[in-house]
Structures are given as structure tokens and as C-alpha cells.
């Protein structure tokens, strides 16, 4: 059996037991990436030399007892919007095409303290803006289940690399569904933690009030273990939350007896593919058979989450991306006349169409005369959406639904109609607006052989409930490896 078909925790056990060396594990990942990248394009950068050097150090650390985490020595791929010292970090944009950070994002540093080996940086939608990983300046990533289809986005590279078994696990980030939707499309498990659980220090910001880093892996056990390693209270991120519990792996139990699970009727209506619906309802039935109480309810306001999200995310993006001006780092145009011309030309040449579209919309909704009508209106809508979730969680432990209305669309189908692409975010964005944790895990394949993802949403800080129910469901089925695995 290939080392790459193991879960991260299973590989970590073999490394700990001395059955596999760290170098062997890392080399297996590098070989897999070398063989499959032509078909997947899940990475922007693979740095084998750096990874193999690090592997030796980690092996030494394991021997000396410095690293005793379950993830010590396991190769990880990191989304290219997290800063990694000395390793190119592009955000899949031309404007950061030459950016080599001088510091490491806290989430990645936490993993490294656990003995992880970063093998490379994964492809994404430019600045995490997109749902297909087609807006990358470094070419689209392809879905390992079918190369004619997208992997989803924006963490499409991370999810495709996990599904194709080019890495043992990956980090992604989720602003409006960017971990959960591509996890669903690629048949892997991805967890978006409660806002503030994982430090955003060193995560290149898109929508700061919504962004959250999380794990992408083969199963729930891996996700819980990785989350335990990356979560921390960090003084360098003023929105970082000090939690009472960080022992997420302790929640890996099959017991869902008495757990109350609500399925929003609003998630099952128009726009939801029939096969996805059937698969989700079958998953709900499984949890019911295991003792959970499952019922449908009306969540309300679901259709307003997308417009509110795009106003808020674009407003924050327009402000966050103002820093890319071509002066001190990043892309600078070659010919210009004067300062403002240099700013404008550097940005216009450096950003792709989707980033420009969102920067302009964000600049508009924040501009004088429109701020109240658009930006504040969206923030008021967000407050109502939060209230709707509060009400739901006063009755239910978890909300269950699809991660996306369809399985992965074909390459090139989505970008021509942005609004249609944005509508694909309907089941994920409200979770970010309300700061909630959510997971997507595989629950079946459609008739085209493409994966379907089950989403479980918890109240703030209730990751353990999500992990418990997801784990219980997962025990009833076998992990299906993608054809490229």
C-alpha cells in the first residue's frame, strides 16, 4: 500500500513507530506530486529540497523527543495565501508573483512546532476570490475525479492535492465556503472552525471579518487532529479568541444518541440538484438510525446571505488589497509617469479580472453616498442572519445540509456568469457571516461519478458536536479514493 493512501494520523503513527522514516514519507509525497501535477496543477510551488532538508531535522527531533505530535514528520501542503518564511507566497496572483515572506503564518508555525513538513504551496483562486480555482494566475486546478471538472474553490489546490494523494493533508482558508465547497467537489473532508479559533496572523487577508484557516484531509480524525495543532490564542491577531477547549480529537466518538439535528427546508428547495438532495437525505437517515433526532425546520433569510456576503467581503477586500501598490514588494509596472500612474498600472497589470471586479464593487459600496445603502444595509442583514442561527441553535445541536447545490461543474462553465457562480455559495456563506464552524465530508457520488459533500454546521465554539456527528456518519462508510489517487 502506498504511503500516500494513508491518512495523516496513520502515517504519523508509522513514523512514530519507526516503520517509515520522515524522509521516506516526504519523498513519497514529492514523487506523487511529480507524477500527478501535470494532470492536477494543485500546486503553485513544490520545494522538494527544502522539504527533504526539513525532513532530516524533524527525524532528528522525533528521535530526541522534541516532536511527539501525531502529525510529526507528515508532509503537508499549505494554501498559497499563508506566508511561509523563505518560500514563495503568491496568493495565485501575478501581483505577488515574486513575494518571498520573511515570516511564517501562525497556523503554519504551529504545525511546524508539531513537526510537520511543508512540501509546497497550493493553487487557489486569486486572493481566494472565486469558487472554481480558475481565477488563479498560474492556471486552473483540475478535479482529480474528472479532469474536465473544476475542483471548486478557492482552496481548490489544497482539496485536489489531498484527493489526488499528492500530500497527506493540507491547510485551506474559508471566507465564504472556500474549504467546504472544494472539499465537497473533491470528495475529501474540510473543516472551517469558529471565527477566531485559528490565528489569521500571516494569512493574506481577503475579508478579514470572515476569513478562517482550517484543515483539509481524508477523514474526520485527521481534521480534528490538525485543528488541535493549528488552533491557538495568538496575541498577534486581535480577533483571535481564547477558547476553553482545544482538545478537538477528544470528540471523536460515534455516540450521537439524543443529538438534535435540524435540516433547513430553505436548503432543499429550488436550485438543489436532485441527486445531491437524495444523498444528503440518506446521510440524515443514517444519523437518525444512530440515534440522532432529525427534523426539518425553516431557517429563513437564506437568499439574503449571498448579496450581504458579497457586499461585506468585497468592501473588506477593497481595503485589504489597497496595500498592493507596487512600491515595497510585489509586482511593479515597468513604464510609468509619476506615482499615481505607477500605482494604477501596477495594480491593473497585477490583478486578474475577478479581483478587479471585487475591488471595484467594494470601493463603490464604501463610497460616500452609497455606504449606508449598501455597506451598512449588509451589516444589518448580517445581524438578522446571526439572529436566525441563534434561534436555530436554541432548538438544535447541529444544522445539516448540502455543502453546495450541485457537484463540480465543468471547467469554463462558471466564470462567464459571475452571479451564477456566486449562487453556488448559498449553503456556505451564511456560516461565515455568523462566524460559525462547519464541516464538509463525503457522502456519496452522483451518476457522473463526482463526489457529493455533506455539510454539518454548529453553533459558535461547538466544533466538538460537529466532529462527533461527522465521525459517527463516517464510520458507516469506506473512504473512496479518487481515480488519480
Amino acid at each position: 500500500m502506498s504511503l500516500m493512501s494513508l491518512t495523516a494520523v496513520a502515517l504519523g503513527k508509522k513514523i512514530k513507530a519507526g516503520e517509515v522514516s520522515v524522509t521516506e514519507a516526504v519523498q513519497a509525497a514529492l514523487d506523487a506530486a511529480a507524477a500527478k501535477e501535470e494532470k492536477v496543477n494543485g500546486f503553485v510551488t513544490v520545494d522538494g529540497e527544502r522539504a527533504l532538508e526539513r525532513a532530516e531535522k524533524v527525524q532528528e527531533g522525533i528521535r530526541k523527543g522534541v516532536y511527539d505530535s501525531p502529525l510529526a514528520g507528515v508532509p503537508v501542503a499549505v494554501k498559497d495565501n499563508m506566508c511561509t518564511r523563505g518560500l514563495l507566497t503568491t496568493c495565485s496572483s501575478k501581483i505577488l508573483g515574486n513575494f518571498v515572506p520573511t515570516y511564517t503564518a501562525e497556523a503554519v508555525a504551529n504545525l511546524e512546532r508539531a513537526g510537520a513538513v511543508v512540501m509546497g504551496k497550493t493553487n487557489m483562486d486569486e486572493f481566494a476570490m472565486g469558487s472554481t480555482t480558475e481565477t488563479s494566475a498560474y492556471g486552473a486546478t483540475r478535479n482529480p475525479w474528472n479532469g474536465e471538472h473544476v475542483p471548486g474553490g478557492s482552496s481548490g489546490g489544497s482539496c485536489a492535492a489531498v484527493a489526488a494523494e499528492e500530500c497527506s493533508y493540507a491547510l485551506g482558508s474559508d471566507t465564504g465556503g472556500s474549504i467546504r465547497q472544494p472539499s465537497s467537489f473533491c470528495g475529501v473532508t474540510g473543516l472551517k472552525p469558529t471565527y477566531g479559533t485559528v490565528s489569521r496572523y500571516g494569512l493574506i487577508a481577503y475579508g478579514s471579518s470572515l476569513d478562517q484557516i482550517g484543515p483539509v484531509a481524508k477523514d474526520v480524525t485527521d481534521c480534528a487532529t490538525i485543528l488541535e495543532a493549528i488552533a491557538s490564542h495568538d496575541a498577534k491577531d486581535s480577533t483571535s479568541v481564547e477558547r476553553k477547549d482545544y482538545d478537538f480529537a477528544a470528540a471523536l466518538s460515534e455516540d450521537v444518541r439524543g443529538m438534535k439535528i435540524g435540516i433547513p427546508r430553505d436548503y432543499l428547495g429550488e436550485g438543489l440538484d436532485g441527486e445531491v438532495r437524495d444523498s444528503i437525505m440518506a446521510a440524515a437517515k443514517v444519523l437518525e438510525e444512530k440515534g440522532a433526532l432529525v427534523e426539518e425546520f425553516d431557517l429563513s433569510l437564506v437568499e439574503y446571505a449571498i448579496p450581504a456576503y458579497y457586499v461585506i467581503a468585497c468592501a473588506e477586500a477593497s481595503s485589504n488589497l489597497a496595500r498592493f501598490d507596487g512600491v515595497k514588494y510585489g509586482y511593479r509596472t515597468t513604464d510609468y509617469e509619476g506615482l499615481h500612474n505607477m500605482y494604477k498600472k501596477s495594480r491593473s497589470e497585477g490583478f486578474g479580472p475577478e479581483a478587479k471586479r471585487r475591488i471595484m464593487l467594494g470601493s463603490f459600496v464604501l463610497s460616500s453616498g452609497y455606504y449606508d445603502a449598501y455597506y451598512l444595509k449588509a451589516l444589518r442583514t448580517k445581524a438578522l442572519i446571526k439572529q436566525a442561527f441563534d434561534k436555530a441553535f436554541s432548538q438544535y445541536d447541529l444544522i445539516l445540509g448540502p455543502a453546495a447545490p450541485t457537484t463540480a461543474p465543468r471547467l469554463g462553465e462558471s466564470l462567464s456568469d459571475p452571479i451564477k457562480m456566486y449562487l453556488g455559495d448559498i449553503y456556505t456563506v451564511s456560516v461565515n457571516l455568523a462566524g460559525l464552524p462547519g464541516i464538509s465530508l463525503p457522502c456519496g457520488l452522483d451518476s457522473k461519478g463526482l463526489p457529493i459533500g455533506l455539510q454539518l454546521i454548529g453553533d459558535c465554539f461547538q466544533e466538538k458536536k460537529i466532529i462527533r456527528a461527522a465521525y459517527a456518519f463516517e464510520q458507516t462508510r469506506e473512504y473512496q479514493h479518487s481515480p488519480l489517487a
Binding site: A322, L339, S363, F364, A434
Partner: protein, 96 residues
């Protein structure tokens, strides 16, 4: 209600966003923004009077710390990122 984005508006947004669009990009941007605003106008169906705008889900407070250096001398590392270097300084185009 359809939002029509005028040439003046898209010009103004270009100034705010520090983006320079050519003729074709400008027409596309007018169309895209108009369509997005039509879509966003759905929010007007909601009565939000008396609802406080929510910028953060959790209460966000200023985080204070003592003004002590904890990250050491990062001068050389920082200078590695300079587009051009002159001794211990970044060389960049004049910005003032």
C-alpha cells in the same frame, strides 16, 4: 430596478480603487457592477429598521501590550524583500 452605471461612476470607482481600465474592460465593468447591484438590491426587501449593523460576530476589543521588542532584529530578513537595496535601506520610487 435596474442599476445603470454611468461613465462618470466607473471613472470615479477607478480612482478609488486605483485601477486603470481600457475601453472594453470599462464597458464590462459597468455591466458587471450594474448586474451585481441589481442582485444586491434584494436586500431592500428586508426591513432592517432598528437593527444595529454588525461588523463582528464577537465583541472585538483593543488588545494592548507593553511596548517591548519581542521579535529581535529582523533587519536583514526584511531587507531581503526589498526590490532594490542601498546599504540598510529599501530603494523605491519617490512616493511623496
Amino acid at each position: 430596478m435596474a442599476n445603470i452605471i454611468s461613465d462618470e461612476t466607473i471613472e470615479y470607482v477607478g480612482i478609488l480603487a486605483k485601477l486603470e481600465l481600457d475601453g472594453q474592460e470599462k464597458e464590462q465593468a459597468k455591466k458587471d457592477m450594474g448586474e451585481m447591484l441589481d442582485y444586491i438590491d434584494q436586500l431592500n426587501e428586508l426591513d432592517t429598521s432598528g437593527v444595529e449593523p454588525m461588523s463582528h460576530v464577537f465583541p472585538v476589543n483593543n488588545v494592548f501590550r507593553e511596548d517591548e521588542v519581542t521579535n529581535g532584529d529582523g533587519r536583514d530578513a526584511t531587507l531581503e524583500n526589498a526590490p532594490e537595496r542601498k546599504e540598510d535601506a529599501f530603494v523605491v520610487p519617490k512616493t511623496i
